[in-house]
């Protein structure tokens, strides 16, 4: 247990006590109690920055399941620190924002903060765990908390749909990833990421290497909404806007990027990794930005924009992975891609977070996010407009904002693809810059759409009624801080280079020496990158102005072919399919289920009986002699038993069963079981009293109405069960293979337990736990009976009357 563990644990503890604060202090918004949690964690991570910058890692281990190699190892290095700062930093701002966004009177904010804290802890766990299994656990916990947060307004259909969709897709990916982890374990014999990295050179070429890689990537891609798994992210926008800003743009969706970055050192020496990651990223980048333009909901545009930006970073990680391949030679070329990825990761969190919050404000003040209904807000909400301006221009890649810098570096990385002389990259080299350029044009267009359609033009008074006013200060501070960061990082990017980016790069590329972050500068002269940016701006403006003419193009691509439809189809299909399968055997008839059980019993038991001869004797077997009393007892018992199914009235049947019980009692006496005889006798007596009490309520015994065939079938099944049991009893009686374990009880009963009644000693002493659980069962039965009788749902009849 160390500070680091404490930081991971802190949100969980807070999540547990938040409802308490909510109940106790109704007048104070619960958010204020939550705020210290991310703030404290953020301060902790800021304070640990110098240590990390020295190139050291903070780590500590708590042993959990050592026999399986599962320990809770918290490990903080440059990459973990970067993500932790994002999680806690953005988390702090989001909490402040949510205090003003969610009304404490109308919303169940205690649930909201509970889930949010749960997520925060889980996410910190993901980026700070060194153990794969622990990482996986936290990973699924982020999916779960995301599910709960998306479905926060669970009475809305869309929320539930979106929540389920995100859950199914990300958990599917999670399972794949777990399988990948286990494959890694079988190859290396350890769950520790660092130890696996040490063994990484031995991995390529092993049979399981490629499957493990693909499975891990599947997890990363589903989480980071990469094409074609991106479909859950737009639907996740049903969550409250603070959640969208936090989980679905700044942190959780970046967990996939984290995994790709973290596992680069393990898999990236392979050409397959390079191609899968960079091409998936490239396709996602293009598809996301292309699709964003067609949407009219501000949050949907931002969702696709997030998808596209995640693709961009993913693509950069893919390109950067080449640095493992080349080893020492011109390593700077490829580490530049990694550096750009890390830098853009930070930038994206700042400008996209700000934009989400701006959209939230617009939604909050006007009640709509539809750009067709919005317009002219600039005059009413100047501050919000300023933040939107900064955010969108940064996203579009214009100076002097941080987006410009990372976009330029992105172009540089893509142009450098032409210089790669391995994996037959060169023949494809033209593809990367061209696709990226086209995607950037789309990015430019939707950035303009968000900004101009919302804030300029005429204010549609007939649609929105009274003009909105500027949001309250609390809503403006968090996006304000982010917007400020956008400018600060844009003007002074080198604040980050050595403090944050370089340690992160070294953590991503732990096996390489002299990994250094380059100095970032705004002006490089008239290099191709600058011309590309100018081209993006010119083409973007032109296309934006002619938007109405070419937007029809989108309608040629029918919506029914979208991937979301594929998902719906698969989900419905699998439900229908399972329903059909289940319906064939789950008939709802108790008798059928009983028949399955008995037939199975007979088949399995019979199969094993065929392998031994139940009549053959093994070992020294002496059967007890039979006396005349026992024969008489047996006959009486059998007659009573056989009469039970033939009984005409319920009374007769109950009495006959009672008679069987008393006969069994007599057998217990004969077989020297005084405790049993006593107990059985009292139980029978009490049972009779019970029957008498129940008698009044019980239905008359109907004559069994079943067909002749059914009756014969029942006879066959029950006959074979009886035969099987007889044979088993005989077989056991004829075999004396081992000494009975009860010799121990007999010997130790008086010596160690001080009791002469061996049966009682077994019950209360040797096997006390059994007895304890037994009274638990009894207690449960009595509670169930009590509930059945006393706690009644009103009958449908009564309900109808009430209406």
């Amino acid at each position: 247990m160390s500070m680091l563990h404490g930081v991971i644990l802190l949100p969980f503890v807070a999540a547990a006590i938040v409802p308490l604060f909510y109940k106790l202090f109704r007048r104070i918004h619960t958010g204020w109690f939550v705020l210290p949690v991310p703030l404290l964690a953020f301060v902790y991570f800021i304070l640990s920055m110098p240590t990390i910058r020295e190139g050291e890692a903070i780590q500590s281990t708590v042993s959990w399941i050592p026999s399986l190699g599962v320990d809770i190892t918290a490990y903080l290095d440059g990459l973990g620190l970067l993500f932790s700062l994002l999680i806690t930093g953005i988390g702090t701002l989001v909490v402040i924002y949510s205090i003003y966004y969610l009304s404490k009177e109308k919303e169940a904010i205690h649930r909201f903060y509970m889930y949010l804290l749960l997520f925060m802890g889980a996410m910190l766990g993901v980026v700070l765990s060194d153990n794969l299994i622990v990482l996986y656990g936290f990973w699924e916990l982020t999916s779960l908390s995301s599910f709960l947060l998306i479905a926060f307004w669970y009475n809305r259909d869309h929320s539930r749909y979106g929540a389920l969709k995100s859950m199914l897709i990300t958990v599917f990916g999670g399972f794949a990833m777990l399988t990948g982890f286990i494959l890694l374990y079988t190859m290396t014999g350890t769950f520790s990421i660092r130890e696996i990295i040490d063994l990484a050179p031995t991995l390529p070429g092993q049979d399981m290497f490629v499957p493990a890689m693909i499975l891990v990537l599947l997890g990363a891609f589903t989480k980071s909404a990469q094409f074609p798994f991106h479909i859950w992210l737009p639907d996740a926008m049903e969550a409250p806007t603070p959640v969208s800003a936090y989980l679905h743009s700044a942190t959780m969706v970046k967990a996939g990027l984290y995994v790709v970055a973290r596992f680069s050192a393990i898999f990236a020496g392979d050409a397959l990794w390079f191609w899968i990651v960079s091409l998936t990223g490239l396709v996602t980048l293009l598809w996301g930005s292309y699709t964003a333009v067609r949407h009219t909901d501000l949050k949907a545009i931002l969702a696709y924009s997030t998808i596209s930006q995640l693709g961009l970073i993913m693509c950069l990680f893919g390109l950067g992975s080449a640095s493992f391949y080349t080893g020492g030679a011109d390593i700077a070329l490829y580490t530049a891609a990694i550096m750009t990825a890390v830098f853009h990761l930070i930038n994206h969190a700042t400008f996209k977070g700000a934009l989400f919050m701006v959209v939230g404000i617009v939604d909050h003040e006007t009640g709509t996010r539809d750009i067709r209904k919005l317009g002219g807000l600039m005059a009413f909400m100047p501050v919000t407009f300023t933040f939107a301006l900064i955010g969108t221009l940064s996203m579009a890649g214009l100076p002097p904002f941080n987006g410009f810098l990372s976009k330029e570096m992105f172009f540089t990385a893509l142009l450098s693809v032409a210089e790669m002389d391995f994996f037959s990259v060169q023949s494809w080299s033209i593809l990367f810059p061209v696709v990226a350029w086209v995607a950037s044009v789309f990015t430019f267009i939707y950035s303009l759409i968000i900004l101009l359609k919302t804030f300029t033009g005429r204010f549609p008074k007939e649609e929105l009624g009274e003009p909105p006013h500027e949001a309250s200060l609390g809503l403006l501070i968090p996006p304000g801080i982010l917007a400020l960061l956008v400018i600060v990082f844009g003007l002074f990017p080198n604040l980050l280079t050595h403090s944050l980016i370089e340690p992160a790069m070294q953590a991503i590329l732990p096996t390489l020496d002299n990994v250094e972050a380059k100095h970032i500068s705004m002006w490089h002269g008239f290099v191709p990158e600058l011309w590309m940016t100018i081209g993006v701006a010119v083409a973007g403006i032109l296309l934006y102005l002619t938007l109405k003419r070419w937007q029809r193009l989108y309608s040629y691509f029918p919506g029914s072919l979208s991937f979301s439809r594929v998902y719906d189809f698969l989900l419905k299909g699998s439900q229908r399919f399972s329903r059909i399968i289940t319906d064939t055997y789950m008939t709802g008839s108790l008798r059928h289920y009983m028949i399955y059980i008995f037939v199975f019993l007979v088949l399995v038991g019979g199969y094993f009986l065929t392998r031994i001869n139940p009549f053959e004797r093994h070992g020294e077997v002496v059967f007890a002699e039979v006396s005349i009393y026992e024969v008489i007892l047996t006959i009486v018992l059998l007659i009573a038993a056989i009469a039970v199914p033939l009984a005409k009235s319920r009374m007769a049947a109950i009495v006959l069963v009672g008679a069987v019980g008393y006969m069994v009692t007599l057998f217990f006496i004969i077989f020297r079981a005084p405790d049993l005889a006593l107990t059985q006798m009292i139980v029978e007596t009490v049972s009779v009293a019970l029957f008498l009490l129940c008698f009044y309520h019980l239905p008359k015994l109907q004559k069994e109405k079943s067909s002749r065939g059914m009756r014969i079938f029942k006879l066959i099944v029950s006959g074979s069960v009886g035969l099987l049991v007889t044979l088993i009893a005989l077989a056991v009686s004829n075999h004396q293979m081992f000494d009975s374990i009860s010799n121990y009880f007999v010997e130790e009963s008086y010596r160690s337990a001080g009791g002469k009644n061996i049966v009682n000693v077994i019950l209360v002493d040797f096997r006390g736990f059994d007895t304890f659980l037994e009274i638990m069962v009894l207690g449960a039965a009595s509670l169930a009976i009590y509930a059945l009788i006393k706690v009644r749902d009103r009958t449908p009849h009564e309900r109808k009357e009430e209406r």
């Binding site: 405790d675 009292i682 009293a689 019970l690 129940c694 009791g755 009644n757 009682n760 019950l763 009274i775």
Partner: protein
């Protein structure tokens, strides 16, 4: 259940109930060394109460014995649990038992076992459960 007015039954049961309960106490105490124990004792006590209920009616039983049988069940279970946890103090596994001989006034040399406490829990739980069942069914109309 209707109130029955069988004087013979009522008079007899008044006497027998005490005999049965005394016997059940004997069975319970004898359990460690002779046939008997918590189960049997508990069931027999419950049977005595059932007899009372049959000869009078449930209301009378409830008035005569104002015991909440839910609490009785819970008490029994708690006694069983805590008797088991007592062994933690001596760094022994859950439900470890011990015994020793003591010289008690009047009774002479008597063996006392911690298993007895556990058995008492079983006894109470069994009485509570049985009576809960019988009472809930009997009261239902």
């Amino acid at each position: 259940m209707k109130r029955t007015d069988d004087v013979v039954l009522q008079t007899t049961s008044q006497v027998t109930v005490f005999i049965i309960i005394t016997f059940s106490a004997f069975l319970f105490l004898a359990g460690h060394n002779n046939p008997g124990g918590g189960f049997i004792g508990g069931l027999m006590s419950a049977a005595a109460l059932v007899l009372l209920a049959l000869s009078y009616d449930l209301k009378t039983v409830k008035q005569a014995l104002p015991v909440n049988f839910h609490y009785m069940t819970a008490t029994g279970m708690l006694i069983a649990i805590f008797s088991g946890m007592g062994s933690f103090v001596f760094d022994a596994p859950f439900l470890s038992q011990a015994y020793d001989y003591f010289d008690l006034p009047l009774l002479g040399n008597v063996e006392l076992a911690t298993a007895m406490v556990f058995d008492l829990g079983v006894y109470l739980a069994v009485v509570g459960v049985t009576m809960t069942i019988i009472l809930s069914i009997g009261e239902d109309r």
